[in-house]
């Protein structure tokens, strides 16, 4: 008797579980008709949790969610220099409910050096906005004899191949800026790649290398604590006292990492255009700008067309330098 009851109960539960999901899926069909956005929006970050675009994305989506009155779900999909996350966004339904939040390297440097990039940056993606950037900075140890970039370049000219510059990785903005600097100043500095920011900073603090090129966001803690000294930066940072590369005489050493949001190009125009003014409002909000600044990003709103133009500029100069140093596959 008990056995039989158990069996019946099991079947009842089983049927229940078959029906309930259907009810939910019917529900979602209804909600879609109410106009965009009416359900949670997924923001895919193509980098590891805790990185520069991670914190800033969370700051922006939190405010967006307040204004649009829909929740945002932030997901990290790291891998293949950000291409994995980008592909994930392209594979999702192009209904405006999946956004890509990325640094410009995944859209320029990485596909430019990939033998078969899985997407075309300008054809497959539509930019929604650029909310800020993080420049590249050249730093030395606090005990370094070089006080300015000029002194360092002068030494490098007299001693070709003597100086070593550590890099957090190869083929990204810091590396490209270093190569641009080497070319502009006609010097030979040995490039030593490391595995990420922590690794290269450890080598600099241990004085195994003479200088490091890295993103500003990654260098802030050590600049603030005085362990390292910045010699030049690719973009002006207010109140930092760091001279820009243009001021030191190398205006072409100017590639910074731009941070922005994209959607798949298949998304209907009427859908994604609803997001653009909201994004603009959030990024231009002084409170948000301040929050972004604490996270290390230099906040600056750029419209989709300005963003595209700057990406295209970067694309051209990066593709040239990549070819020259033999990183093109």
């Amino acid at each position: 008797m008990i056995q039989r009851l158990k069996g019946k109960k099991a079947w009842a539960i089983l049927t229940g579980f078959c029906i309930i999901p259907w009810m939910f899926s019917v529900n979602t069909v209804w909600s879609q008709e109410k106009g965009y956005p009416s359900k949670p929006i997924e923001a895919v970050i193509n980098a590891a949790p805790g990185g520069s675009s991670d914190i800033s994305t969370r700051i922006i989506t939190e405010e967006l969610s307040r204004r649009l009155k829909v929740p945002f779900v932030v997901i990290n999909h790291e891998g293949a220099g950000g291409m994995t996350g980008a592909v994930k966004v392209l594979k999702a339904k192009p209904d405006g409910y999946t956004l890509l939040s990325t640094g410009s390297s995944s859209m320029t440097c990485v596909p430019l050096q990939s033998p078969d990039p899985p997407f075309d940056t300008f054809k497959d993606f539509i930019p929604l906005c650029c909310y800020g950037s993080t420049p590249v900075v050249f730093v030395v140890h606090k005990s370094s004899p070089f006080k300015t970039l000029e002194e360092l370049i002068r030494f490098a000219k007299g001693n070709p191949g003597k100086l070593t510059c550590g890099l957090p990785n190869i083929g990204r903005e810091p590396h490209l800026d270093l190569e641009l600097l080497k070319k502009a100043a006609a010097v030979n500095i040995k490039v030593i790649p490391y595995k990420g920011t922590g690794d290269v900073i450890a080598a600099l603090l241990g004085k195994h290398i003479d200088m490091v090129a890295q993103t500003y966001i990654a260098s802030i803690p050590y600049l603030k604590s005085g362990e390292t000294r910045a010699m030049a930066i690719t973009q002006k940072v207010a109140n930092s006292g760091i001279p820009t590369t243009a001021e030191t005489g190398y205006p072409h050493v100017n590639i910074s990492v731009l941070l922005g949001f994209f959607v798949s190009a298949k998304t209907p125009k009427t859908t994604y255009e609803k997001l653009i003014p909201h994004l603009e409002g959030v990024v231009k909000d002084p409170d948000i700008a301040k929050k972004l600044e604490t996270s290390g990003v230099l906040p600056e709103y750029k419209s989709p067309s300005d963003f595209t133009a700057e990406l295209k500029d970067n694309w051209d100069s990066i593709s040239k330098i990549v070819e020259e140093i033999g990183l093109k596959k």
Partner: protein, 660 residues
């Protein structure tokens, strides 16, 4: 004295009820993710980081760090009970922990792991509190040549201590080194062995490799001889270590703890590395090294003490210099930045509440973990009372979720299955996976430091001899290798001795087969490496390092092949099949899991898991349909609830899209 006052202050911070609560949440969550082979502490910290944003900084950091060392406690549990490392730094614990469980000594094994972790954890917290700034600075003095020689020394020590055949162990090392080079070359960004697969660009992930080679291999093996489970359940003697156990392991705990703490300080060394060395060391120092691998308690105590101390060691460069040395600490650094704190040498001085509060909370947390874990032991042992087939099915599902949830990539499940199959085959051919895993972990570090050194020195190998620390490491390595070669003939003579049987060194036919495979695979890698561009010592190319691994593999496979051909003409050993062994069942299970991987994203987790459980239960232990269906339903839904709703693993919903 000043330190003492700070510490008192720290305890007053740690004992605030709210901080006690965060500490408790952290260590409990850590234990949970440690026990589950699917989720590592990195994933858990990443998951909680956004929440931490809203908390008070001290409480949040206490919680996030709690996850780290909590996971180290939990990781041993799965290793000991089911031979699946719950966490990658608990791989070594499997080697003796599981045999102990098989002998009915799961209780003492779990107990000594908890006590060992507590003792080593507490001692290293004292180390962190007293010496953090000085030690952090010292670690920075090691440059690439020192790292290279240190890694080579570690690899040599561990290989030397390996069970069974030395040749086979080194073959596994070579294979591990080759596998570690898959992905973009960090010096040139050139793809190596990726074959146009996006997933492979970042290399093979540790999780599918470890849980495939250990977890899936064990499960497949259990499926083919499903009666081993009785061993586990029938003879459980005591729950706590005896006085003799304590005598055997107290020194191991202290040694393991010291080793772990100091190696943890060095940037870039995963806590897994010192656990291997600790195991090797204990085996070398033991009066009965032959007991290792069949349930020596020192083999559990040393490495488990070690991984806890190592976690504490990694905090030294983080707090004293602001340098994160692993993924977990990068997340902590991100947390500091979120809270507007500046990491660096002034950190401890500027934020005494945080640092001393954290140090004190780690003491409190360790005590909590001990109190939490000891009563749990009898409960954990009950896990073994779960019907054996069902337990193994659950492990399969956990392994798959673990592989998938790293990046929500189906390819990682395929890799897991491939490594599971490889592990199963190597088990039949009597190869140990541990040297492969260590070589895989060390491979990128060895390659990086070797190529950096050569770049610095313009291709000269003198740097390894002229720098004193590097020279010392190299000398130790040379001594170990010489000893190994001198004692080698004795070892290989045992090849066909009757008492060894098929268990220890493998059959002649198997050796011939695997030797041939190793030779062919090695030659293939040699050709591929040359195609990748080897370069010279001055500018080593992307193919340089894989070529070294391949040459090692080719050389040793040839030796193995010759030896097996030559020896077989003299004696042959009949391989006695284990009774009641049914390899066909393992094959069915493997097919089932492969089909599962194929339908996983399309049908979604719940439906495909439901079907897999039905299939496996039907094949492995046929029962009434009603029971099978009910079990499958409960398993798939509760796994979904645990991993997707609670831990947010991002499992696919498939055609059930819209389900909450």
């Amino acid at each position: 004295m000043e330190t003492f006052q700070y510490l008192i202050h720290g305890f007053s911070v740690a004992f605030r009820p709210i901080n006690l609560f965060y500490c408790f949440v952290g260590v409990s969550a850590g234990t949970l993710v440690g026990v589950l082979p699917a989720i590592g502490p990195v994933a858990a910290v990443a998951l909680l980081l956004p929440t931490a944003y809203y908390l008070d900084p001290v409480g949040a950091i206490i919680m996030l760090v709690g996850i780290q060392y909590g996971a180290m406690y939990g990781g041993s549990t799965t290793s000991i009970l089911v031979n699946v490392p719950g966490e990658s730094s608990s791989v070594v614990t499997c080697l003796d922990g599981y045999p102990m469980a098989l002998k009915g000594r799961a209780g003492p094994a779990l107990g000594i792991a908890a006590f060992g972790s507590f003792i080593a954890g507490t001692l290293s917290i004292i180390g962190l509190a007293l010496f953090a700034p000085a030690l952090g600075r010292m670690a920075l003095h090691l440059g690439s040549p020192e790292y290279f020689t240190l890694m080579i020394m570690a690899l040599t020590i561990v290989t030397y201590m390996a069970r069974g055949s030395m040749i086979k162990a080194v073959m596994m090392v070579a294979l591990g080194l080759i596998l570690s080079t898959v992905g973009l070359d960090m010096f040139t960004t050139k793809p190596r062995f990726t074959y146009r697969l996006l997933t492979l660009q970042d290399g093979i992930q540790v999780i599918p490799l470890v849980i495939g080679l250990f977890g899936l291999r064990e499960v497949l093996n259990n499926f083919q001889s499903p009666f081993r489970g009785e061993l586990l359940t029938t003879r459980i003697k005591s729950f706590l270590p005896t006085l003799q156990d304590w005598k055997d392991s107290i020194l191991s705990i202290l040694r393991g703890g010291t080793l772990g703490f100091f190696m943890g300080i060095l940037p870039g060394i995963s806590p897994m590395v010192p656990t291997f060395i600790s195991y090797g060391l204990e085996k070398k120092l033991s009066k009965h090294p032959e007991k290792f691998g069949s349930g020596a308690i020192e083999g559990v105590a040393g490495p488990e003490a070690c991984n806890n101390a190592a976690v504490c060691g990694t905090q030294v460069p983080l707090f004293s210099l602001g340098i994160p040395t692993n993924a977990l600490n990068s997340l902590l650094l991100a947390a500091f930045i979120i809270f507007g704190m500046t990491p660096g040498p002034q950190f401890i001085k500027n934020y005494p509440d945080l640092f001393w509060g954290l140090v004190a909370s780690m003491c409190v947390g360790n005590a909590m973990l001990l109190v939490l874990n000891l009563p749990l032991i009898p409960l954990w042992i009950k896990v073994l009372k779960v019907p054996f087939v069902l337990l193994n099915i659950l492990i399969v599902i956990f392994c798959i979720i673990g592989a998938y949830s790293i990046n929500q990539q189906i390819e990682d499940i395929y890799l897991l299955i491939i490594f599971g199959l490889a592990g199963f085959l190597t088990k039949m051919l009597v190869y140990e996976p541990a040297p492969l895993i260590l070589a895989f972990i060390l491979g990128p570090m060895i390659e990086k430091s070797l190529r950096q050194s050569l770049l610095f020195s313009d291709g000269s190998f003198n740097v390894f001899i002229t720098r004193p620390i590097a020279a010392v490491f190299l000398a130790v390595t040379a001594v170990i290798i010489t000893t190994a070669i001198v004692t080698a003939p004795k070892k290989s003579a045992k090849y066909t001795e009757k008492s060894e049987g098929p268990g220890k060194e493998g059959s002649v036919r198997g050796d011939r087969l695997s030797g041939l495979f190793g030779l062919l695979f090695g030659i293939f890698i040699v050709i591929e490496s040359i195609r990748l561009h080897v370069g010279g010592f001055r500018h080593p190319g992307p193919g340089f390092f894989p070529l070294l691994g391949a040459i090692l593999l080719v050389g040793l496979s040839t030796v193995l092949l010759f030896r097996s051909v030559w020896v077989s003409s003299r004696t042959t050993v009949a391989v006695a099949r284990r009774e009641r062994e049914r390899p066909r069942l393992a094959l069915y299970a493997l097919i089932g899991i492969s089909v599962y991987a194929l339908i996983f994203e399309w049908l979604g987790f719940i439906l495909s898991t439901f079907l897999l459980v039905i299939f496996l239960l039907r094949v492995l232990s046929p029962r009434k349909w009603r029971i099978i269906l009910l079990t499958a339903l409960i398993v798939s839904l509760s796994a979904y609830a645990l991993f997707n709703v609670l831990l947010k693993s991002g499992l696919p919903k498939g055609i059930l899209e819209g389900f909450p």
